[in-house]
């Protein structure tokens, strides 16, 4: 029962594989750098969030409309409702009531603000996606910011953060048309399973490179959201 392995052959097979790998990577349009450069996320300052909130409330004017477009484009989730104002009803009462009032007042006011004045209020864009913690994510959620779930469609269908849309990073090409329906000035929060995954970071970087300049990565992701008992929904009947 001797194995009688020829280690020269093994070394040869490994060497050929390595040569093929490097050659293919060099010529492939999907080639990647040999040494990955780690992009470290910096945490979003609360002051940035608060100022972003101001922008968000303006953007919520467009959000419902944007989400309706998404609904039309994503045929696999036809039963979803995206009306932001209705969703506030299901948030914790102590925090959302103020938000509703603020938002509705703001929305009414915003319609009367001239366009150039609105532009003057806009904060400078971020230079990179920013990481946010649970507390910050909740604030942004309450402000009606769009959350994008970067997990697999199956995970999303099972359960996701209420009102979030799905843009699975591993099927980005199939789903990227969703981005056409979004306003590039609107803030977006990306999330995935939690600290175990980095899909939200990758998606955040991709969105940022695509021109979305207000990207927040919810680092704790789905796991932390669920543990905190925050609003979720499922597409499974």
């Amino acid at each position: 029962m001797k194995l009688n392995l020829n280690f020269k052959k093994i070394a040869g097979i490994l060497l050929v594989s390595i040569l093929l790998a490097f050659s293919y990577n060099y010529f492939s349009p999907k080639g990647i750098p040999l040494i990955a450069e780690e992009k470290k996320l910096s945490w979003a300052d609360d002051s940035l969030l608060f100022s972003e909130n101001n922008i968000v409330k303006k953007d919520t004017l467009h959000l419902a409309e944007n989400n309706k477009n998404i609904e039309e484009k994503t045929s696999e989730v036809p039963q979803r409702k995206y009306s932001v104002q209705n969703d506030f009803v299901e948030l914790p009462p102590d925090v959302y009531e103020d938000s509703i009032e603020e938002n509705s007042d703001k929305n009414v006011d915003e319609k009367n603000i001239p366009e150039n004045e609105k532009q003057n209020n806009v904060e400078p864009e971020s230079t990179e996606p920013k990481a946010i913690n649970l507390e910050q994510a909740v604030k942004l959620y309450e402000a009606g910011i769009l959350f994008i779930d970067a997990r697999e469609p199956e995970d999303y269908k099972n359960a996701h953060i209420k009102n979030s849309i799905n843009l699975p990073m591993d099927h980005f090409d199939e789903y990227k048309s969703i981005l056409d329906t979004l306003d590039k000035n609107q803030p977006i929060v990306t999330y995935c399973a939690g600290t175990d995954c980095d899909l939200s970071i990758v998606l955040g970087n991709v969105l940022f490179d695509s021109g979305f300049k207000r990207i927040f990565v919810f680092f704790g992701g789905w796991n932390e959201w669920v543990e905190a008992g925050l609003p979720t929904e499922s597409l499974v009947q």
Partner: protein, 147 residues
């Protein structure tokens, strides 16, 4: 018993199973190296700087060894390489399970979306069986080359 395991058709079946599975898995990973690199990174077992190199080389080892195994060329050696990979995968999945990670296994690149779990451990253990079979008995008579 030895005669049964040395049967040329049984050896061919082992080669086809192991060869096709690794050929498919390798090609899926080659088609999306970035996605596969992300899958490796999710295991949090390797330094970040090493991830891309592993993501590039590993699928080509799978494809080369899988293809050679299908043709019965250097079957023992290729079975040894693929079985070694399976043992490495077993360890990686085992550690991830122990650490409670809820991640995609990346076993077939990003194509399957399967999570690490007991099922993946069992799959890997089952695949080691034809690997050991071929390592011990070689490619059999139905082959392009003699071991």
């Amino acid at each position: 018993m030895i005669k049964f395991f040395n049967n040329k058709y049984l050896l061919l079946i082992s080669r086809l199973i192991l060869g096709f599975i690794f050929l498919y898995a390798g090609m899926e990973k080659i088609s999306d190296p970035e996605g596969f690199a992300r899958s490796i990174n999710n295991y949090k077992l390797l330094p970040y700087s090493a991830i891309n190199i592993i993501a590039l080389i590993l699928p080509w080892i799978e494809v080369t060894a899988g293809l050679l195994l299908l043709f019965g060329i250097a079957a023992k050696e290729n079975a040894f390489i693929l079985s070694s990979l399976l043992v490495i995968f077993l360890i990686a999945i085992g550690i991830s399970l122990f650490r409670g990670l809820n991640i995609d296994c990346g076993c077939f690149g990003t194509a399957s979306g399967a999570k690490v779990g007991i099922l993946k451990l069992v799959e890997n253990i089952l695949l080691i069986i034809p690997g050991l079979h071929l390592m011990i008995f070689g490619s059999g008579d139905i082959t392009l080359s003699k071991d």
